[in-house]
Amino acid sequence: MVDTYAITVPEESRARRKQRRRQRGTVRRSVGPTAMLWVLALLMLFPLLWFLLSSFKPGGELFSYPLSFFPETWTVDGYATAIERVDFGRYLLNTTIVATVTTVLTVFFCASTGYALAKYRNPWLSVLGLCILSMTMLPGEVILNPLFIVIRDLGLYNSLAGVIVPSIITPTGVFMFRQFFVTIPDELIHAARIDGASEVGIFFRIMVPLARPIMLTLGIVSFQWRWNDYLFPLIILGDPDKFTLQIALRALVGAENIDWPVLLGASVLSMIPLVALYLVFQRYITSSNINAGLKD
């Protein structure tokens, strides 16, 4: 079959036709999926884009029909007023402190706990493992009131520490590290022990460097959780001086007459740090095999 075909059709033209057919096939085949991909992408992007472009419109243009997609006059008045009137700097500082400190502590304690759960075995650890598993089933929303009482009685009410300390341990983080350390061969630990390394030394000098990608992933995810957290800071922080960005934004939306230019500007500003972080580290989130339950 092939031989007869080769004889009747000259070699060169056959190859060319094949190539052309392949090209046409590629184009035809990729139209559908590409269209679907980009329709979805535009759907996801549109609300953000509309919001972002609106934030550059002057107050009068925001509500004047017909609406235009792009601002007719670009302005940063909304941003300027937001920074000036809403005490944006303070909220930004509070949020940065809460998110950064919590993230560092979360990564450290989740790593050490995950390591212990993966590489040691004793009754204490079995009980602790079960306890942490139970956390996945008992969300913070359910123990909101008693948690508030505990924090108040500890004297942490209305302080940033009251927001930071209770949210350090996340079951997701512990299990991420546990699963990672389970894949590290025990021989590595045995070899280090033979060389005279202490248990704590093994963890800090061998395991922590190995777990760097997981630490980055959990670090980014945890930073996002804490940056965007609303309910928990809301019950702990009562003094406007201590507010985080999310609570301050909620106060703007909850007002009797919403000041939209300020709200738009403040909202966009509140997203900038996270977006910058994401653009730098995006491959650690989108390409990692994040396990189920990574939702806080």
């Binding site: 559908g32 590409t34 996801m44 609303y230 939306v253 989108t286």
Partner: protein
């Protein structure tokens, strides 16, 4: 000689080898001290901010505690009152309606995004992946603001487009059902990125040979999707559905910013009900009882999740 050696050698591995890691660790103190050091802070934090509140919550639910003074034990009176409280049931019912609609919408959106990203033939995947992930960065509060801005009754983009095509402006915020519809769309938009990641991981594990075999048999794209893709990712699908159900039952922040549970209190969901009872009205005992009911519902959902997870053989 030989006899004794033969007798000794089988006895030794049988008695010791299977338990060596255990025994050896017990013999040395440092193998117990080190894991204790690694976990002691976690254990303290767990006990203080998780176990203690959980126990307190259960006991408060049987008292009339109001946040100060003495709590008086009143048995199950809170629960009895709760089951006669129509505002509790309306919040719970609204939460179920919300979860019932937002979970399938979010599921389809996330799966569609994952399939489009995984298709070998689509172009511009890197850019699309970044775009798909952007809503994950947006906090629930800002997401609520964004959708409120889009669906404003007299100033929103959507009503403007509807008016431009000659339609009447739609009461997105004064009609309770339409308002919930906006919340559903916003939640699907906000949670899609994360579920998409789970789907992408699952789609990567479907053997390519299945699709090749199906192509040889002349199956079209839709048939391949229905008969190969969907069954292959069934465990992930169940996981996504159950995780989002748990998440949607706890919705609070986004709806706060989007419509504040309005119009009126018609879209008040269960967490908002607990928050308002416990903090605004300071009826901690009563709110704790409501929390326990929510916990029971979540536990039932989590129980189903664990059973399905165990059947499909995943670790957690």
């Amino acid at each position: 000689m030989t006899i004794t050696r033969d007798k000794v050698t089988p006895a030794e591995p049988a008695g010791v080898t299977p338990r060596t890691p255990w025994r050896r660790k017990r013999a040395f103190g440092r193998y117990r001290l080190a894991p204790f050091l690694f976990t002691v802070v976690t254990a303290v934090l767990f006990a203080l901010f998780f176990l203690l509140p959980a126990v307190l919550g259960l006991s408060y639910s049987m008292t009339d505690y109001r946040g100060w003074g003495d709590a008086e034990f009143i048995g199950f009176a809170n629960y009895v009152a709760l089951f006669q409280d129509s505002s509790f049931f309306s919040a719970l019912g609204r939460t179920f309606v919300y979860a019932l609609f937002s979970v399938p919408v979010g599921y389809c959106l996330a799966l569609g995004m994952a399939v489009a990203l995984q298709s070998a033939w689509s172009r511009g995947k890197t850019a699309a992946r970044i775009i798909f992930f952007l809503p994950w960065l947006v906090s629930p509060i800002v997401a609520g603001v964004i959708w409120r801005w889009m669906f404003g009754e007299s100033f929103g983009f959507v009503n403007f487009v509807i008016a431009a095509f000659g339609g009447d402006s739609v009461p997105w915020s004064s009609n309770a059902d339409l308002s919930l519809l906006v919340v559903i769309m916003a939640s699907a938009w906000g949670s899609a990125a994360f579920n998409m990641l789970l789907f992408v991981a699952a789609l990567n594990n479907v053997p390519q040979s299945y699709y090749e075999a199906a192509s040889l048999d002349g199956a079209n794209g839709w048939q391949k999707f229905r008969s190969i893709t969907l069954p292959s990712i069934a465990p992930t699908s169940l996981l996504v559905i159950l995780l989002s159900t748990l998440g949607q039952m706890k919705e609070f922040a986004m709806i706060q910013a989007l419509n504040g549970g309005g119009p009126g209190t018609q879209n008040r969901l269960i967490v908002q009900y607990i928050y308002e009872t416990g903090f605004a009205r300071s009826e901690i005992g009563y709110a704790s009882a409501a929390s326990m009911v929510l916990l029971l519902i979540l536990l039932v959902i989590a129980f189903i999740q664990l059973r399905i997870g165990r059947r499909s053989g995943s670790t957690w």
